[in-house]
């Protein structure tokens, strides 16, 4: 059993060391971009309650694409507002759960 476990562990850990079964290597991880992705999502969730779902979502959908290289604020604002309102409306209709209202003070205006 121990032998099987050790061989399984080696099999699994090999790719983590960057070695592929065919001898090639994996693409390098761009840590800064990964940190940006996770950081943005964590920030979005952290502000979910204090800001409220709609405002937080609009801010997130404006800020993230800008940081990722899409720089047309008017287009972004339109997409962000439409997405936030549509989701809040669908959620209001379909779910017993209430989205955090935050500074707007109402879950669904």
């Amino acid at each position: 059993v121990a032998l099987v476990l050790v061989s399984l562990a080696i099999q699994t850990l090999r790719p983590l060391a960057g070695v592929r079964e065919d001898g090639g290597t994996f693409e390098p991880v761009r840590l800064s971009r990964l940190a940006l992705a996770v950081g943005l999502t964590a920030g979005y969730l952290a502000l979910w309650k204090p800001l409220g779902f709609q405002i937080d979502t609009v801010v997130f959908l404006m800020v993230s694409p800008m940081l990722l290289g899409f720089r047309r604020p008017i287009v972004l604002l339109a997409i962000a507002v439409a997405t936030a309102i549509l989701i809040a409306f669908l959620f209001h209709l379909g779910s017993g759960a209430v989205l955090p209202a935050g500074v707007l003070r109402v879950g669904w205006p």
Partner: protein, 494 residues
């Protein structure tokens, strides 16, 4: 005569409108990651309380059948499953989209889903009592061996990553043990945490985290590499329709898998699409599965739609729904005054209208999907910098919708990181989900079977069905490992 009056009800202008509207809304809701037929029904069920019974049921059944197809379109175009039922669709669907064949895939799925749903309806109407009789005789030991068989299939889904796939399947299995013990009610692996004690780890949260958040993180980290802009013209919608008609055997086989998985409560579409995919890819090992084989998108869709309809069989004839979505359909029919039970299938024109509408809705979502295929396929051309944040928002909402707690969303974020690592290592994600779904099924039924054994003194595992499943599991489990060993040996000798 009954069917004629049913048809008469369906073709009333208001009801026809309800049918088409249900398909369109279901399709679009389904495309949102994390929101499937269950969410679509919760959304619209309260709105239909005041509708006439026939109109309400026609609208809901077309909504129900179209939602999974919508999710499949997301799976093909952006490589995120709209619903756990669309996981296998991604395996070949997204490679097809990258080759500029998204339109072909969307059309082929529409036709395959339509055929799958229709075949299941024929089963539902004709041999429902017989099917229910068989399903009722499936005991805990059989369920347990079915789950073991499903876990053994994990190795087969992963090809040359069979070992890693099994480990990931084990991780998924472990997540299902967090929270309340199904038999004794004591808490396991909760470490005094209120959230884990109350909710455990819900598999819908795992799916949203791994697929929606994980792939968004990968998209952002790799720049545009995760979803390549499709430069090839989106064509081949008709060739997709024709391809579906050229593979009747595969579609019928997948539909049979789907009906089987739907009739047995608790298996459901999250499993049936993967099993149908595995069956086709194992029966045709030279078929370039995973590289854009059109059968690889048709089989899961045919199975999904067959399962959705087949889930209504135990729901309507016994009042036992096997999934959330069929429980909601059951609620819908009871709210509108129809009584589930053995006599459900005879006598009422509204019920006849419901089945005719279910039949027609298969055609209507396929036609709408095919008509919109070119437009929907363009979704893959949205820049990653916009698409990834939108998928993150949808994913968070999808996780929040499970219980309405922020804990689910935080858990989804953690699984998003796990999903990112797995995707980065180019390992398959499906085994974790399979493990998480099969875990409770295996554990609860195993312990129930043991209790029966202690009570009766006779082992339920020694009856023919569990033994057959055991042999099949061993075969399915060993073949991919043996193939791996053999290919490693030939590589070493060469």
């Amino acid at each position: 005569m009954l069917w004629l009056s049913g048809l008469h009800l369906v073709v009333e202008p208001l009801n026809l409108l309800a049918l088409i509207l249900g398909s369109v809304i279901g399709l679009f809701l389904g495309t949102l990651p994390g929101l499937g037929p269950g969410f679509a029904l919760t959304l619209f069920l309260p709105l239909t309380f005041d509708f006439p019974a026939a109109t309400a049921l026609i609208f809901l059944v077309s909504l129900y059948t179209a939602a999974v197809y919508g999710g499949a379109i997301t799976a093909v175009v952006v490589n995120v499953p709209g619903h756990p039922g669309n996981i296998a669709t991604m395996f070949d669907g997204h490679p097809m989209a990258r080759q500029g064949r998204a339109g072909q895939a969307i059309a082929a799925m529409g036709v395959a889903g339509c055929i799958g749903g229709m075949l299941a309806l024929i089963v539902l109407i004709t041999i429902s009592p017989l099917v229910v009789d068989i399903a009722l005789h499936i005991g805990p030991a059989d369920y347990f061996m079915l789950a073991v068989f499903g876990l053994a299939l994990v190795a087969a889904t992963c090809g040359r990553h069979a070992v890693q796939g099994l480990i990931l399947g084990g991780v998924g299995f472990l997540t299902s043990t967090v929270g309340e013990d199904p038999i004794t009610g004591s808490f396991r692996f909760a470490y005094g945490n209120d959230y884990l004690m109350n909710q455990g780890i819900n598999f819908a949260v795992i799916v949203v985290g791994l697929f929606a958040l994980g792939s968004s993180f990968l998209m952002i980290e790799e720049g545009t590499a995760a979803v390549t802009p499709i430069n090839a013209p989106i064509s081949g919608v008709w060739s997709g329709v024709l391809a579906a008609l050229r593979h009747p055997v595969e579609i019928i086989r997948a539909s049979i898998v789907g009906v089987f998985m739907g009739v047995i409560p608790g298996l459901g579409i999250a499993l049936s699409n993967i099993v149908a995919y595995i069956v086709e890819s194992r029966l045709n090992p030279r078929g370039n599965f995973g590289g854009g084989n059109i059968v690889g998108v048709m089989a899961p869709e045919a199975a999904d739609n067959a399962t959705l309809i087949a889930e209504l069989i135990p729901a309507f004839s016994l009042g036992i729904p096997g999934a959330i979505s069929s429980a909601l359909m059951l609620e819908a029919v009871t709210i509108h005054g129809l009584q589930p039970g053995p006599t459900f299938f005879n006598g009422n024109p509204v019920i006849a209208a419901f089945f005719i509408a279910a039949f027609l809705s298969q055609i209507s979502f396929a036609v709408i999907g095919i008509a919109l295929a070119r437009f929907l396929a363009r979704g893959a051309e949205v820049p990653t910098s916009i698409l990834a944040p939108i998928i993150i928002v949808m994913g968070c909402i999808g996780a929040y919708a499970v219980h309405g707690t922020i804990g689910d969303v935080i858990l989804a974020l953690i699984f998003g990181l796990v999903g990112y690592v797995i995707l980065k290592l180019k390992l398959p994600l499906a085994p974790i989900v399979l493990g998480a779904i099969l875990g409770p099924l295996a554990e609860g039924n195993y312990r129930r079977a043991i209790i029966i054994e202690h009570a009766t003194g006779k082992s339920p595992f020694l009856s023919p069905l569990p033994l057959t499943l055991l042999v099949l599991s061993v075969v399915v489990f060993v073949i991919p490992l043996w193939e791996q060993v053999r290919s490693a040996r030939t590589a070493r000798n060469a």
